[in-house]
Subunit: 421 residues, 2 copies
Amino acid sequence: MIRFYNGLTLEPAGVTENEVWVDGSAISYVGPARADMPAFERQVDLKGDLLMPGFKNAHTHSAMTFLRSAADDLPLQDWLQKQVFPREKKLDAERVAAFTKVAFLEYLANGITACFDMYFYPDAFVQVAKDWGFRAIMCESLTSVTNDDPNRVYERYEKYNDMGPFVGYRLGFHAEYTNGIDAFKTVAEAAHRFKAPVWCHNSETKKETEECVAKYGKTPTALFDSLGMYDYGGGGYHCVYFTPEDMDIFAKRGCTAVINACSNGKLASGIFPLKLAVEKGVNLAVGTDGPASNNALDMFREMYLINITAKLREGDAAAGDPALILNAAVSGGARAMGLNDCDAVAAGKQADLVRIDMHRPNMRPVHNVVKNLVYSGDPSNVRMTMIAGVVRYEDGQFFVGEDPEDVYREAERLTKAIFEE
Amino acid sequence: MIRFYNGLTLEPAGVTENEVWVDGSAISYVGPARADMPAFERQVDLKGDLLMPGFKNAHTHSAMTFLRSAADDLPLQDWLQKQVFPREKKLDAERVAAFTKVAFLEYLANGITACFDMYFYPDAFVQVAKDWGFRAIMCESLTSVTNDDPNRVYERYEKYNDMGPFVGYRLGFHAEYTNGIDAFKTVAEAAHRFKAPVWCHNSETKKETEECVAKYGKTPTALFDSLGMYDYGGGGYHCVYFTPEDMDIFAKRGCTAVINACSNGKLASGIFPLKLAVEKGVNLAVGTDGPASNNALDMFREMYLINITAKLREGDAAAGDPALILNAAVSGGARAMGLNDCDAVAAGKQADLVRIDMHRPNMRPVHNVVKNLVYSGDPSNVRMTMIAGVVRYEDGQFFVGEDPEDVYREAERLTKAIFEE
């Protein structure tokens, strides 16, 4: 057992001075110091630091690290057609595994304990997650661009949901504009068969949304709902051009809108309508999107930008809500990913924990811990990241069974191969 | 002498593999390894890390750390009138010194080697700068709100520009809306007397800009220029509502627009017109503004947000320019502050240097060092900050002659006093 004491704890009800005990993969106790203490393998004096649940990166394409800083500041179509798609054609299982590892290192260094990923070569991806003990939920990436067979969702659903605590698979598809009606119907049927939620990129750009309305006479959300796609919940990534009616559908179906503020800014897609989503009572989560369109995998920056762009969108300094967005980045993401036992610091929950350094000057003075996290926190405040009771990152060192320098070297070698082929 | 070798160096012409030697307060050599090496006191193997010039925070109110996370998410006037002004009335020299120290620690941890500050109790402020060896240029904060005598600029100009290499004073005033025409005329006269540049908050909000036009029939910039205020240069902080004609005036006078993207977002003031400024050829610099309106003192976040909001403002993913903004955050700021010998890694320049950790995963792979810095860099990448040849921060430790914990304790005590008085 591991004991964390002499610090602050971010619990569902707020910040406390409780200590936290971890037994195996789970939290066994959260409360005041007790006389009847068990024997601990390790006792961590937090010295006033904060223990909080790990961030859940609720939308990403992890392996796209190989395109970081390789294709920026381009119009969206040039970026996709000229920079991204031709290089993605050169991917294989080995390359996806190598590039995923760079992202996982970044997640760990930044206090992220789980990701909701959409990409190619799922076997390679889940092997890294299992080997490193990192929680990785995959969303089906179905697209007609690569002639995927929609029926593969049946086999994948059963295969990847039977791989233990670190791996999961959710029904979905890439987006409306990259699929036809037959694919949507197949996914909707699978949702009913498995009583499962469905996910996809939704209303990310104005163009995509307008073209869907022109084609189907409905927004993407209304179209998917009309096919019974959300009868068991699910949600959308981006959701920038959601109408009030789209928000109503999401609220009614218990769906989650995943906000990707940095990506929406960098690709000039627009600003998520946070005020509208909150008014409509839509579940929220936070994602970085892939490192080619962000370019960091940093939930502090996401939380900051969501609040800042909400203020700019509304022209109102009172817009935004740091506590709500922190909750979205932690438990909202866990709920979206189906990781309902990884969402909070509470007895019985999985020990997916992050230690936040409160002795860096950006955290002082301490008027409000939550606002400090959202408005002035950054990755330099992450001292430790634990997943399922195992410390995977602490004080700059990684504990994943591989030397980060080997990971970087391999990723650089394989990146170079793609760019020079 | 200190030798930095086996890394990358950000020089004015680009990234090189040159080594850098520091002799006393200055850089003595930048170039390839040489056979005729002197005896070094310390040799730093950079192991592939990047050595770059320190960031110059070109607009801030350092001591406002005491209001960090104390007053957020409020409409601008409520924030100023109810949260900021009543508490600032309780400041004194001791408190300003204590709160300034927290900011200086954050600057050092974040790779910032100089700040352009505007606040109260200049003697207390400059004493911290001198004691800690931090470069602090003050801008005159003249305002009729506190009944300041405009003529004080004459005495202050001579006093604070005669205090050695770490302290300087620039003519200026708070803003148009907090001063009358007599103050402007006094400052303009002083500018002519000293042949000196003039600075102030300028066109930060739409309301302020429109009210100036209603009162004087001119934008703030046109008004100031008509009084001869910019005959020796200077510039403005924020400049969000600059017209094309305002930009023309700044370009003609060699003035600098200091961009404060985070503050302009958090207070919902608007987005700086970067595209227009670049088209007009205006000098640019970057500032964090004070920690009450940001809330971090982080130039990585500023550079990121400037580019992201430029893309959102123009609706164009190709807008923004990471190399230009990095240059503004380093040499643009040095130029604005009159620190012309602190702007670059080159022989003869002051050794104001930062070591960037290239072994954190957010910096990998390395397609483009500059884009990595601007789009995925964060304070966790700062391994060392050196000012005038002295290491002031390295690997989480501060070297300023005081224990950070003592600084935090004193700042918390004095903050509490202000809030409980």
